[in-house]
Symmetry: none
Subunit: 219 residues, 4 copies
DNA sequence: TATGAATGAGTATTCATTCAT
DNA sequence: GATGAATGAATACTCATTCAT
């Protein structure tokens, strides 16, 4: 497991290194920081601990990140992009409109599966986001903005589309979102954070979740 | 508002003082601690700040609570009881069985309204619980125990009762709970923590939430 | 010598404790700080060193002085008052006008002797002031203000008085001051800072200095 | 002004490069170091700041100067030579003896004017010397040596010469020097460091200073 | 020769906790 | 019980210096 974890953290860090400008040491720092902070929280993690775990001198951290907080931000900010990635991509809405998905349910299924995989491979990062969001208003702001500017509008477009097709009840988008989103997030949090070690039949759980949502908002 | 807040915090503290063994100073300490910690988080709140806000010497805090963490525990542990209070009370299951509620929906409505009021009057305490739960395994344990030992069994009993009555689909309790709970919690968090200042039509929102749940698990 | 120094530093600190509000520890901190900073300079003196020398925990320093700089300011600000004390006292000008001194030379003699004694008993404090003045604009400001608002006006009044009496040449006060002050300060710095260990015939040196000044500005 | 400053600093550096052995980078380093250190002091100036200002990598500084202190010494040591240059030059004494100056006053005038120009063009270097002298005993030593071995003897020779000519009072050289030097230095410091931005009538001020000195030590 | 990433000892400051009064 | 001065371990951050390239 330790081995597979090693791999996992390296992949996470690679995600943060999208423009490939990071040095080896910087990658080690990020890897260590994610590992420890996701386990113990930002305030319980000292820079000296990160340095030790990263196999790097403490000063090296501050060569790359002016402050400890900057390091947190460097970890947590890219996640907002990836969380809402599907909504940014134009294909998202396009696909919905195209014949890719015959029904809303099909669309929803694809969406949930996609986000399921995303969460699965990003648990440590998402733990950090969940835990620290309350304490860092600047980070909160980034997430709120992404939601109101990108995610929410894209959701509405899609919902409108399928409403016209007659797949959905005649309920305000606002309401639909307020119902469906916690159902999805609730599932993912239970699955990967509250009870990650329980035995899960993922396929079935996803199907049940979607059924549940469709009963609530589908026609 | 400041005035009404004063009142609110005093009430919160009274809840923690159920056996009436606390001194005046102790109440002041708890009140101050809840106020500040719920705003800034445990690690961003110093004991000296709490002491000042409580109008008490710093040493006095440690006369009542051996460590800062003990203070947190003193705040956060009683909440678990109150959160799950309905499930502890024998009346809870009894009521369900009695004729108090003709249908599951009626029961659910009463339950959600009850928890709605609870959350409404306990926002600061619940914020603290939500924020700190991740970082303090001992506290987590208390919550997990309460859930598995009390809440979950009680829920099952009730569900079984209404299943027999034919109000509910023939789905495993496990699944029903996994669907319904996030719907309720999701609503309450959105309502009181994420967007407490939005304009809410609470009655309508509760009704919608229940409809949504009932569509998913009701017959 | 160590013994006499002990005494000396305690006296210096007493001067800073004029309102008698300082605790024992605080006096120890000031004493240690003056001793070390006057020898090695502010930037070469660490708070841990001061704490050790003062026989006090490092945290204790910061209980009394919010920052290291605050400690410096606490040492250096009172000195400005004492340096210019004679000019603050109303007696200063009054005496000059009264029959206390028949001639300007007599007056000057009394003044130089007085400042000589002051410098003699305040060498460490004055060293600190001289050394740090360049680096701390806030401190500079305090000194400039004292000079322009108190010292300079008082000097002018006195000079005018003795000009009328015919003791002094008809030269602008400005010029007189620019000549006489460096002569006095130059003597005191040479005497107590540059060559404190040379053999000095103080009485004679003071007389010579005054003669020199009087030749320059006296009639 | 920025332009004229650029020029000024380049000239200062050229002075330090008398044997023309310095590389371009080295000159840039010195220039940057003088500029920043004279403004903010040695301890408030980091080598990285100097490197950046010099347009040079941080390591380059240490290729030329083993330590940061060495850099300071490289800046400050040559100044001692230039400060006391007139006394080193054999012409200095010779001129005094030759018919170049009919009287001591003439000689003094030439000397003060010469040092006035020197200070004027070396303010940044002299600021550094004044500020740092207290903290670096090695540098102090260099200055003390130059004074006792060269400056003082040369002064004495000159004074003796003019004493014989009957231009000066019959006072010990020691005393004369102790009076005259602070008068000159006091003027220059006031003029260029304490109040560099005041409106100065330099010619007149120099004359006044010399008159003042001559009254004190001239016959 | 020049670079600049990496180092790690050193520093000011914070803060939970103790304890004499 | 209550106080608040004192503690000292812990922490984020700086910076002169080194060294592989």
């Amino acid at each position: 497991m330790s081995d597979s974890n090693e791999e996992m953290f390296k992949q996470l860090v690679e995600t943060l290194n999208q423009d490939n400008t990071m040095t080896q040491k910087q990658l080690q720092i990020l890897e260590a920081a994610i590992k420890i902070i996701s386990e113990k929280g930002y305030y319980n993690t000292s820079t000296s601990e990160i340095a030790k775990q990263a196999g790097v001198a403490e000063g090296t951290i501050f060569r790359h990140y002016r402050t400890k907080k900057d390091l947190l931000v460097a970890i947590v900010t890219p996640v907002v992009t990836n969380i809402s990635a599907p909504f940014f991509a134009e294909q998202f809405v396009d696909q919905a409109f195209s014949k890719s998905y015959q029904t809303f349910e099909e669309f929803l299924y694809a969406f949930v599966e996609n986000r399921f995989e995303f969460v699965k491979t990003n648990v440590p990062l998402l733990k950090i986001v969940l835990q620290e969001l309350s304490f860092h208003p600047e980070i909160q702001a980034a997430y709120k903005r992404a939601f109101t500017e990108k995610v929410h509008p894209a959701m509405c477009e899609v919902l409108n589309h399928y409403k016209k097709r007659g797949d959905l009840k005649d309920i305000p988008n606002q309401t639909m979102i307020r119902m469906a989103v916690p159902s999805i997030i609730g599932f993912l949090i239970t699955r990967f954070i509250i009870q990650p070690n329980a035995e899960w039949n993922d396929e079935q759980e996803i199907k049940q979740t979607i059924d549940y949502i469709m009963n609530g908002i589908g026609k």
